[in-house]
Symmetry: D2
Subunit: 171 residues, 4 copies
């Protein structure tokens, strides 16, 4: 399929330093019986912001700095289905001066190869004027556990894929 | 407020025999900073069908009998917010020949009084012709653990509210 | 079906003084091939707030008074489907001191009988403290064109059902 | 912002041969007061499938060939807001043997520069086995009016941007 040149490949579980489990909802499935493509981005949004909130780096009601989304994308390899939960892997693939590129992998329970993976670029801005602002110290600290580099060469230095476990994404 | 006569009252945790926890999502919050009223029904749908699927009483892809929704309603008492999870209590309040009235309570984590509660009436129909069909034996069995009657007179015969714990809603 | 006693009846087009057309979306259909029950409430929310905003009675970003939802409900009679649009009828069935009960009818294009109808109770509150506040003059004016009483006795004093036309719901 | 190298640019209205208008919904706005990034993909899905259905190239209930999404992406330049409608431009940027790459531009009413634009790759498969199948003749015909090439060099051979008008996206 030349329209997708070069064709992306699924990611491995070991590509993602952090995992949490997102339950699916009835309405996530569309008429074809699998999770609708747009809903994958709702999972991305939820897991990334959950990590930032839980780490004390984002206060959606009061914080002076908020993250605005400037770019997103997703590659789909295999369907996901309600009522099965989705195991979501997260990494901070690039940390810039005012922005962060997150990569997210979606896995069926226990699967080694991602059913889908995508990226999500946040620019951090001040809430009032919505102008880009430097990534805060609190955010840099929150990103540290997400910064194992993505690799497609899985050497023995990496934990075995099964070592990353998936718990609920709690705030 | 006469428009809501008679004004409904919150339910107690002890009114619901089964509980499970639904995580919220970023997009559940609307512009006013709390979970949008329509999303409550997505929680109802998800938890009721999850129970039926997990109990072997509903096969959404292949089953000959499916549940169609003919009536829903909700009373809202206090806001819910992403990123906090919602503890969802479920009961089968009335079981008819072809239909079931479920009642659902939504609780902030650990709260004794519901933030909202609602009802949800399924009529069971055959998938092809969508005509009402008698509640199956498998469904009756699935409903048994949900049939502790709703009461507003909380005698000592009921477990203390805190005895109902909330686990993930797994399939 | 005793669980729905008394069984509600569909409404007529002539029960609603104002109409506008809401296009459906791909994701509105669920796995059973029709619009999911929770999505009906998204239509209610959208049309009611659109009317208030267009009438100058609600400013969602800056206004001092906002409407919080305290009660909703819906009766479903026939399915709706993407890609067909939905013709939405709106009436203000009761106007209280601090709250309004809206009733909403959803019609397939050109249908005389509603596919569904529901109610939606807003309490108006001040944005900061979220305490009930009297319905404003601007809101009372916005409600006037919605206040033809709901009737099930359709006398000749009412326009013929086909006289209510449906345009886009524009702001 | 090196994380988005190279930084994409907004598209022009004249880049898209077909337009239709999608009304926003109350719940499209998130807590930051603008349309949530995931909802943009719901607009893409809706408009692309609407075009295919209206052209007779897709029958979501019965057709033997359905389109599965294998890749999506979006660049965001300016916010969109409920209650304003969105004018959606559509083009078929690449037509392969079994797949099509659509590009979609989202514009505030009357704007010349897109608030966002994205891509959406469908692979066409047979409904039962979900194996890729050649693009049908009906689909090729449906794509013809969408195949004006995307260009960033806007010569006089192109109609003035204002010549593309936006009507409702009707089935």
């Amino acid at each position: 399929m030349s329209v997708m040149s070069p064709r992306a490949q699924p990611r491995l579980r070991s590509d993602f330093p952090r995992f949490c489990t997102v339950p699916t909802r009835w309405g996530d499935n569309d008429v074809y019986g699998h999770v609708n493509n747009a809903v994958y981005y709702a999972y991305f949004d939820t897991v990334i912001n959950q990590h930032l909130i839980a780490s004390g780096a984002l206060d959606i009601a009061q914080g002076e700095v908020i993250g605005l989304v400037v770019q997103t994308g997703c590659h789909y390899f295999a369907p996901l289905h309600y009522p099965d939960p989705v195991e979501v892997g997260l990494t901070a693939a690039e940390v810039g001066r005012t922005s962060v590129r997150y990569e997210v992998g979606l896995f069926a329970p226990g699967a080694e190869l991602s059913a889908a993976w995508g990226h999500f670029v946040h620019v951090y801005v001040d809430r009032t004027h919505r102008k880009p602002t430097a990534v805060t110290e609190a955010l840099r600290r929150a990103l540290l556990p997400l910064q194992r580099p993505i690799t497609t060469n899985h050497s023995s230095a990496f934990p075995s894929p099964s070592s990353a476990t998936s718990a609920p994404c709690t705030p």
